[in-house]
Symmetry: C2
Subunit: 417 residues, 2 copies
């Protein structure tokens, strides 16, 4: 059988399952989630065994530190996974909500009803916990999911998917609501990206290369997040001690993630006072600074090139630029930013609102750290990703973003004249 035939069969089954999932009651979906949590606890041994196989193979093929770490389903990762499921059970069910019906002049009552997207495809890299974290959000929102995990996690993923399908069966829901593509061959992935008839949206999670590959080849809509080149702009009316605290947090607290600050923009009026102070603090945290010429007149550091303004370092490196005005800061953000997260530090009311209104990023903050761009931190619950394309969802995507609305209309014989 060709990959085309196999993937089409997976697509067809997912579509069929999606119609049953869309009609599932909240209780049924929560029962399935509870059965999955129970299964993950009960089958701990089997999961460990499968994971050990993956880890051994990865070691043999020479996979290194951080990448190997991500592969391991440790005690901690497993219990966070189960705790996550219990939290999702407690959330309200987004499906079926009708937010108002309006009455047309001809008496037709028209409204919008929230419904699942249908079938969600997820293509991801090494972490096997994504297999469960993503699937439970899809189940809660009444969707079917087709998973394509990384080759390193093949055995772990198969084991986890088996447990989830068993949980669905126990709740009398279709087990095909969770399916794993049984290979990681590139050809199979290409066929998966052609399933526009069956898969309503594709969500790639991983490095920039993976995301570009998916977005260039997928025929269905893609919800994607390229990178986070996040800025903090320290305005001339900033409280300097607040600016210091926020900048340190934005850069240092977890430099390897997408919502960490990569470029610091400082208003010229306080650069002379602020930059020497920050140089000292950043030095103490081991942060390497790369500055524009005006920055380098104030503090010693390497010169920033055009590449630095575009860089997502994901590391203890920070580009620094002195600007003449807030507008120059905003222009810089629109030219080099990635529409992810930007913050202004200011005590001026007018400037706070102007920044909020002018900057077109998925999260714009006043006087707070860029690190808050995250589903949990913003109060949405767990997220399936952060979208930096503006369609459908912009910013963290929670369970609501895995749904859409259809129009519904109640008539008594209306016809169009």
């Amino acid at each position: 059988m060709s990959w085309k035939t196999i993937l089409e069969e997976i697509g067809r089954r997912a579509k069929r399952a999606s119609y049953l999932m869309a009609k599932a009651t909240t209780d049924q979906k929560n029962n399935a989630l509870a059965a999955i949590a129970e299964g993950l606890r009960r089958e701990r041994g089997r999961i460990e065994e499968a994971n050990r196989k993956d880890v051994e193979q990865a070691r043999e093929s020479g996979i290194s530190g951080a990448k190997l770490d991500r592969l391991i389903l440790s005690e901690k990762v497993m219990s966070e996974m189960v705790a996550g499921i219990e939290e999702v059970i407690a959330w309200p069910d987004p499906v079926g909500k009708i937010t108002g019906l309006w009455k047309r002049p001809n008496g037709l009552k028209v409204g919008r009803m929230r419904i699942p997207l249908g079938v969600i495809g997820i293509i991801y890299e090494s972490r096997p916990n994504v297999t469960v974290d993503a699937s439970i959000l899809c189940i809660k929102s009444g969707n079917a999911v087709v998973l394509r995990g990384g080759s390193e996690a093949f055995y772990s993923n198969q084991c986890l998917v088996g447990i989830m399908r068993e949980g669905l069966r126990k709740a009398e829901l279709p087990e095909d609501a969770v399916q794993l593509v049984p290979t990681t061959e590139r050809e199979a992935v290409l066929e998966m990206l052609k399933l526009e008839e069956y898969v309503d949206v594709m969500i790639p999670r991983g490095g920039e290369e993976l995301i570009r590959f998916v977005s260039e080849n997928a025929r269905m809509p893609v919800l994607k997040h390229y990178k986070g080149v996040c800025h903090v702009y320290v305005d001339k009316f900033a409280d300097l001690s607040m600016a210091e605290t926020v900048c340190v947090n934005a850069k240092v607290q977890r430099p390897g993630v997408c919502n960490a600050m990569e470029t610091l923009l400082v208003h010229r009026d306080l650069a002379g006072k602020f930059l020497p102070r920050m140089k000292e603090v950043f030095d103490s945290h081991g942060v390497e600074l790369r500055g524009c010429p005006r920055t380098r007149e104030i503090i010693p550091c390497r010169e920033a090139t055009e590449e630095d303004w575009k860089a997502e370092y994901l590391d203890l490196i920070l580009a620094v630029k002195v600007v003449d005005s807030m507008n120059e800061a905003i222009d810089h953000i629109h030219t080099y930013g990635s529409a992810h997260t930007e913050a202004i530090i200011t005590e001026n009311y007018e400037r706070a609102w102007a920044f909020i209104e002018s900057v077109q990023s998925s999260l714009v903050l006043v006087n707070a750290s860029t690190r808050f761009n995250d589903g949990y931190q913003l109060g949405l619950g767990a997220e399936i990703g952060i979208s930096t394309s503006k369609l459908h969802a912009f910013g963290p995507m929670g369970v609501d973003e895995l749904t859409t609305t259809k129009f519904i209309a109640f008539g008594n014989g209306q016809i169009r004249t």
Copy 2:
């Protein structure tokens, strides 16, 4: 200069214009729209001349009846265009609306603000009035637009775009908020589809072939509408005279459009009574019926093949099937339908709700004609298209669907711990 260079320059200008459009006040945008309406009235002579050039060339190249008709900017088309602009001016501005701020445990106030999508690309075929109709919706919603019209309407489109750019300039808005790709060469279109860095969404309007081409080649999200294979299901509890009126309206009132009925599903319990009656009515309207074997036991007609169940006839032809149950009708819709518009005719409360909840189409109606799936008819105002993909918008897309939301957050020094 290569098309790549030219298109990238158009993209860059559009992006720059989009930041100014996003900050434009409601008055500025309405002033631009009023100046455009005024310009279209004043420059009537110039528009007619340009349009005459297109029509002559089209005639010479042998373009026929309906296609030629669509090209002509008649008195009627022009005054509808201007009336449309005046209506759009009266609408509320969707941009800037904040629907609630919630407070996080750390005091951070988080909300969502409605913002324009940014840059919208529109690729369409012959009708030159689309050039104006689509652009004014983009201006009202604070977006910049890049237009690629059909080659037949080249001179008309250039003239109309010139008038719109002048209107923008008069309102002190960037004229690059409306740009026309200065060619209809295929290579230029391909380059336009690669402008993912500048264009936030691509909207193709035209035949299935155009839409498939755009969706297979675009790197940015595409809002598309393939086809409307719409169903009416006449339930066993239907009021037969209402069923007759609605079915005739759905099929006959305008058979060439996407929300016309293409397949009629009839419950077996009333098929014996309903079908002979409908055969007579449809005969009188010149509708050709193609039936399943059980239909042909009741009324004489050609046999429907598998192809008929999938067909969007856009003509006076109707496929007819007798079903054993509502579930069989729903299965048929999910197997052969296009998720566009489906209606049930029933007097039974339980079945009306079950149909509404089970059918996953962009509009699901009870006791009303499928012909209502249209922005004006549903009360959204003018539409830029009808989306049958579920992401971002599902169903008619009005001005609100040309916007998205960003997260905003007001803090007083919050950092992440």
